[in-house]
């Protein structure tokens, strides 16, 4: 594929790996412990596993797979709310595909669909709006999910619904925002992170400025990274170079997509439609202040939480889960007591086993081959 294969060139990868090994040799810390670099975004986790990038890196680098998989961090109570909405008579509940399988406390959307709820997979919120147009006698609810990457399209859909006077469309808003979450991770007392790969598509919307506190206050380097395997390797190299040179800066490897100021049109749509919630509950991480958004009062008619009675019952994560510690890089997935035993992709207990972008599911399915192998043999 043109403009894709160029970013998957194994010769360039070998050259970069050589450079990376050179940098590792120069970094003092590497002599006592591995460097922990977190990729914040689930898309990066996906690329890292899909291309086997981790199996190519020197042992002195440990990748910590962060909280940027919106499907994984969705708390069970919110999934229950989705199911309740989907089971409301007259409702067509629309969702992105990979949210279908996320387990609630009783069932997933896929199970609800099997039991008769009208749950439909869509590829864009505009598809959901189209359904509302086609079915004026039904209430179409869109399950809005994701970070700043998907927020603009949801916001624009609501603006479109308002402009077109569509009354049978609403949004169950579960959009979350990345910056407070990175801050919560950085504030965690067990933190052991040396640097970050910043999310590429979130940054395409918000730009690079919002990350400045990471370098200024927490003195950690962050490189905004693209999603092709060479992007990931080059970004890692840039983080290591900063560490080797004693710098902590915000750099942008993904500058073919990410402008410094982000996308003003998208940001404008977001701020017209959404406002910050006081706090939002995350699976594995608990409640994080200002980490979610809700629909502003002006657009209340499109807010499924106002339009329908949503149970909104908080369900605690299973006690045996150690997702939070995995997310913060305190332990590796296979160190969790239930990994591969009680918690598998078929029967996930924890957030990170739910979506293929979750660190545990990724390890379980196609991860660090020898470690997984050892682990499953022992189980």
């Amino acid at each position: 594929m043109k403009y894709v294969d160029e970013f998957r060139d194994p010769d360039k990868a070998r050259a970069l790996l050589k450079e990376i090994e050179g940098l590792v040799a120069r970094i003092e810390t590497c002599r006592t412990r591995p460097l922990a670099i977190m990729e914040v975004c689930g898309g990066h986790t996906h690329s890292i596993f899909k291309y086997g990038i981790e199996t190519m890196l020197p042992d002195e680098i440990e990748l910590v797979h962060g909280p940027g998989c919106p499907v994984c961090v969705l708390p069970m109570g919110r999934v229950d709310d989705c199911v309740a909405l989907a089971e409301t008579p007259g409702v067509i509940f629309t969702t992105f595909g990979d949210a279908m399988r996320v387990p609630g406390s009783k069932k997933s959307l896929m199970q609800a669909k099997a039991e008769g709820a009208d749950v439909r997979m869509v590829y864009s919120p505009l598809d959901a709006l189209e359904l509302a147009r086609k079915h004026p006698d039904r209430e179409v609810v869109f399950f809005g999910l994701g970070f700043e990457t998907t927020m603009p399209s949801t916001a624009l859909t609501i603006l479109q619904a308002e402009a077109d006077g569509i009354r049978n469309f609403s949004l169950f808003c579960n959009h979350i925002t990345i910056i407070p979450t990175i801050k919560a991770i950085l504030d965690s007392p067990e933190l052991q992170l040396d640097g970050f790969l910043g999310p590429g598509h979130v940054s395409m919307v918000i730009g690079s400025a919002p990350y400045r506190f990471i370098s200024e206050h927490y003195k950690r380097p962050l490189v905004i990274a693209g999603f092709e395997p060479l992007d990931v390797l080059q970004s890692l190299w840039m983080v290591l170079k900063q560490i080797a040179e004693g710098r902590a800066e915000i750099e942008n490897q993904y500058n073919r997509i990410v402008p410094e100021r982000g996308n003003p049109v998208a940001l404008d749509a977001i701020s017209r439609v959404f406002e910050l919630r006081e706090f939002f509950e995350w699976r594995g991480l608990g409640s994080i202040d200002h980490s979610g958004v809700r629909i502003r009062k002006n657009y209340a008619q499109f807010d499924a939480e106002r339009k329908f009675s949503v149970p909104a019952i908080k369900i605690a994560d299973p006690k045996s889960c150690q997702c939070g510690e995995v997310l913060k890089g305190v332990i590796k997935p296979w160190d969790c007591k239930v990994f591969g035993g009680a918690c598998t992709p078929e029967t996930p207990l924890g957030a990170l086993m739910v979506s293929p972008e979750g660190a545990c599911a990724a390890y379980y399915q196609y991860g660090d081959i020898d470690k997984v192998h050892k682990r499953t043999d022992a189980a």
Binding site: H46, M56, P345, E346
Partner: protein, 360 residues
């Protein structure tokens, strides 16, 4: 070929062939009465015209000695076909129902001979659609050299099935000295595929139209017994063949790894996938290794036979793009590992459920 207007009934007397004169199927066509006989006569007997079917007995009857002359074992298989949409680029449910069952026989080393055809029709289906499907089955059966010898028709209420379901069972004969099995792979054996992967899965997803992508991807739906015959001629000690249908190549390889308790290592670079399919998967966040195929198989042959097998396959029209994609090893028994294009390695596991597109 002209189709007789009279049919020889079970008691040996001739009767007038029924005619269907309505545009849509109704529950009456499943009621067992004249309307049903008209439907069967006009649509199915008409299309599948052959002396074994025409008497419309409750069963087809075969001469055992005729079968025995072809080999030493019977192969018997069944498969049900449910696909939305019924017609898609590269085929339709009828072609699928014939080729799929022919392939299930052929991958066991059998020469496919006879098929059954049971249809479950949702009331309201257009008779024209049914005619097209029956004609497509007839033409696929003719191409594959198999005869549709028995069948059944049911009509169900609207909503009780999705337009049209077809079940075909098949009988074939396996010739002497062929021993194919998923448990027979040995370290150092070689894994081959007969061409580009994922076309059918991508074509179906695309034909549903909800992605609004315009793409020329066609289903690879084809009967593979001819190609498999050529392969087994060139490499009679072939260990195993399986068509990579639902769950794609990844699933077949995992089945071999588990059944033979061996590791399988494949090379992403050598694994043939059409550029359009790669792009399609890239956009939707799907993995082509898990996409269904309807005209592709994976086979395991002895190292010494690999070149012969490859050459023979590439000389056949359905194997022109055949490739050696990997090897059987004694590393990590039960696991399939892929060397990625980028130079890393990853496990290629079975899917948990169906593949779902990713959010972003």
């Amino acid at each position: 070929m002209t189709i007789a207007t009279d049919i020889k009934a079970a008691d040996g007397r001739m009767r007038r062939r029924g005619k269907l004169n309505v545009p849509t199927i109704t529950l009456a066509h499943g009621g067992g009465g004249k309307a049903m006989r008209d439907l069967i006569d006009d649509v199915f007997v008409g299309a599948f015209d052959n002396p074994d079917l025409a008497p419309l007995e409750d069963q087809a009857r075969f001469d055992i000695s005729g079968l025995a002359s072809l080999g030493d074992r019977l192969a018997f298989t069944t498969d049900s076909y449910v696909v939305d949409p019924l017609q898609f680029p590269g085929g339709d449910i009828g072609k699928l129902a014939v080729c799929g069952t022919v392939n299930d026989l052929a991958v066991g080393g059998a020469k496919p001979l006879y098929l059954s055809c049971s249809v479950i029709i949702e009331e309201g289906l257009a008779v024209d659609m049914l005619r097209r499907v029956a004609a497509s089955m007839a033409s696929a059966a003719k191409d594959a050299g198999v005869t549709i010898v028995t069948g059944d028709t049911k009509v169900v209420q609207r909503g009780a099935c999705d337009k049209l379901f077809i079940n075909t069972a098949g009988i074939g004969v396996i010739r002497e000295n062929l021993r194919l099995g998923a448990d027979r792979a040995k370290p150092r054996d070689v894994v081959l595929v007969n061409g580009v992967l994922g076309d059918h899965g991508a074509a179906i997803l695309n034909a549903r139209g909800d992605m609004a992508l315009s793409s020329p991807i066609e289903s690879d739906c084809a009967a593979l017994h001819g190609l498999i015959g050529v392969l087994l001629e060139a490499a009679p000690a072939t260990r195993f063949i399986r068509d990579a249908t639902r769950g794609g190549l990844a699933t077949v390889l995992n089945e071999i790894a588990l059944a033979s308790n061996v590791g399988i290592e494949i090379d992403e670079k050598a694994t043939p996938i059409r550029e359009e399919v790669k792009g399609f998967c890239e956009i939707l966040g799907l993995d082509p290794l898990y996409l269904a195929n309807e005209g592709k198989f994976a086979c395991v042959v002895r190292e010494a036979d690999a070149d012969k097998a490859l050459e023979a396959m590439q000389a056949h029209p359905l194997g022109r793009e055949a490739k050696i994609i990997g090897r059987v090893t004694d590393n990590r028994p039960g696991r399939v590992v892929m060397q990625t294009v980028f130079g890393g390695r990853r496990i290629v596991d079975m899917l948990v459920g169906e593949q779902l597109p990713r959010i972003c």
